[in-house]
Symmetry: C2
Subunit: 360 residues, 2 copies
Amino acid sequence: MTNKVPNTSDGKNSVARRLVILTEGHSEPITAKTAASVLRYKPEDVLALLDTTQVGKTAQQLLGVGGEIPVVANLDAVPKANTLMLGIAPPGGRMPEAWRSVILAAIDRGMDVVSGLHDFLSNDAEFCNAAKLKGVQLIDVRKNNERDVADRQNIREDCLRIHTVGQDCSLGKMLVALEVSHALECAGQKSKFIATGQTGIMIEGDGAPIDCVVADFVSGAVEKLILANQHNDILLIEGQGSLAHPRYSGVTLSLLHGCMPHGMIMCYEVGRKNVNGMEHVPLQPLSKLVNVYETMANLMCPSKVIGVAMNSQFVSADEAEAEREKIRRELGLPVCDVIRHGPEELVQAVQALLPQLATS
Amino acid sequence: MTNKVPNTSDGKNSVARRLVILTEGHSEPITAKTAASVLRYKPEDVLALLDTTQVGKTAQQLLGVGGEIPVVANLDAVPKANTLMLGIAPPGGRMPEAWRSVILAAIDRGMDVVSGLHDFLSNDAEFCNAAKLKGVQLIDVRKNNERDVADRQNIREDCLRIHTVGQDCSLGKMLVALEVSHALECAGQKSKFIATGQTGIMIEGDGAPIDCVVADFVSGAVEKLILANQHNDILLIEGQGSLAHPRYSGVTLSLLHGCMPHGMIMCYEVGRKNVNGMEHVPLQPLSKLVNVYETMANLMCPSKVIGVAMNSQFVSADEAEAEREKIRRELGLPVCDVIRHGPEELVQAVQALLPQLATS
């Protein structure tokens, strides 16, 4: 079962989705990563951000994407909007209580509401009653009823599986998978981005929200995504968390073993020293993590890290170049920032695996 | 939040629990591991097994525990029973459809029903209506609402954390943790068994059913068990699955990183060649797995495998001795079958860590 998210407000492709993205008090790139990613990949859908603390600024100023899309103080400022999207991903996925009145106001205006939080809108009696009254949809992207275990059967070995893995959560594994997949498509390959988180699903329109699946069934949910999409030549499977993350390492391993990648792209953020949201926990060195990921992936099938995606958004161009050279030397792998440099080096590393696949 | 399971039929300690355990068509040690474990640790609670295919045999004959406790064909044969327990743990945790009429018959007789399956009795309208009518309880041991992430704060380093890990699922990790914890208590240590699965919870009366927790919150659920019990000197934390299990490795890693063991006991079953229930997937060698577990545990805190628990139930005494010597030589660690040899070697290995803890 794949979670489908309508890209139109009524799910029938008849009314275009016109979004206001709620980022109240959190309009910065990491916490508002859902907003930032939808702005990057679906800017045509977005009319405004809603954050009363940042009114008058633009999306570009706050999140580095989205150009002149404005930040507004309330829904009255965006009368044409038909969908409210909740645009942050807080630890634990809980909804700030202050958002309740905004969601109810949106429903009252006849807007659908899209949420990627662990707390489901559709489990909330007040939201449900209001939505029923107004005939609008509450779309919980993480909601699922996954109940299948992995089987390791019928997996096609002529479909190349590439997985983005990382040093931490929230540093660009989804973005790298999207960029590399798009670049492969531009190069004529039949490539598909496999979304495994709520933001990826909102962008791609399908996928599985694996961090919200009952633990026993995560690798099964991932395996089903592989089986459903292996008619493509290449799958770029979005990573989650990190094998060294104190909170989410199990999600990461279920995903790694569920998708059994032939190749992995190691993602990290230049300058990040500690686990995101856990300042008392230092990050593990990249070289150590390359070994850890390869060791764990190889328990299921032969796999190696084929390149490194650096996220250099918080450093200068000069610093980024110096870092790129350093990591190239240290790990002996292609290294690039897919936004700053483009994804070409990683695309070539992926393509280099295709002939091996054909002969294996 | 810890799942509590009443050890009495009405949860008020006034009526003793008198169980019939349903094992219909699955009365063998691995699939009926819930039944076998309750028979081993709570035989005084069990009046009969219910399996129409094995009537007239004893629990001992079928499961190797339980002595003369009989196998019966229906509930009429056990008029004093007040609780029906579902005694198997099938892959995926789904209830065989044929059990429905037995469960309804039990409810109709005024019996409570205890289940460890992923399919909750209390989500089934027919069971709920029947239970309400008769005023009986439906107890879903796996049901939980865990929503906390791990924090890695306030963990006491003077409480020794020992974790049973394994080559596969269903080979004795719970039993080893129970036996070692009980032996430590007998030796005067303040030790506590930490249940992480439905059967362990049924035996211990508390714990967390981690394989049924939403994936993001598994290590958080485990960390809460540690925080709630670290007033003891030693915790014996029940393992789940295996880091090399295609289906459940993520559950295993969430548990490992949630409990951050100082020491691990490696459990395996002599003669098992392939993953339980996945005959097409060979098991990984023990020596390799020792490295894998130590590598992954050390990402969180210093940890090592301190001994090996062999499950030799399916081989002769001579074969068990030969195997024990072989593994001792191969891994350079204490090795014993906690049932056949007793847990003394492992108890000593645990106790040897206590002075190090005091000085760390």
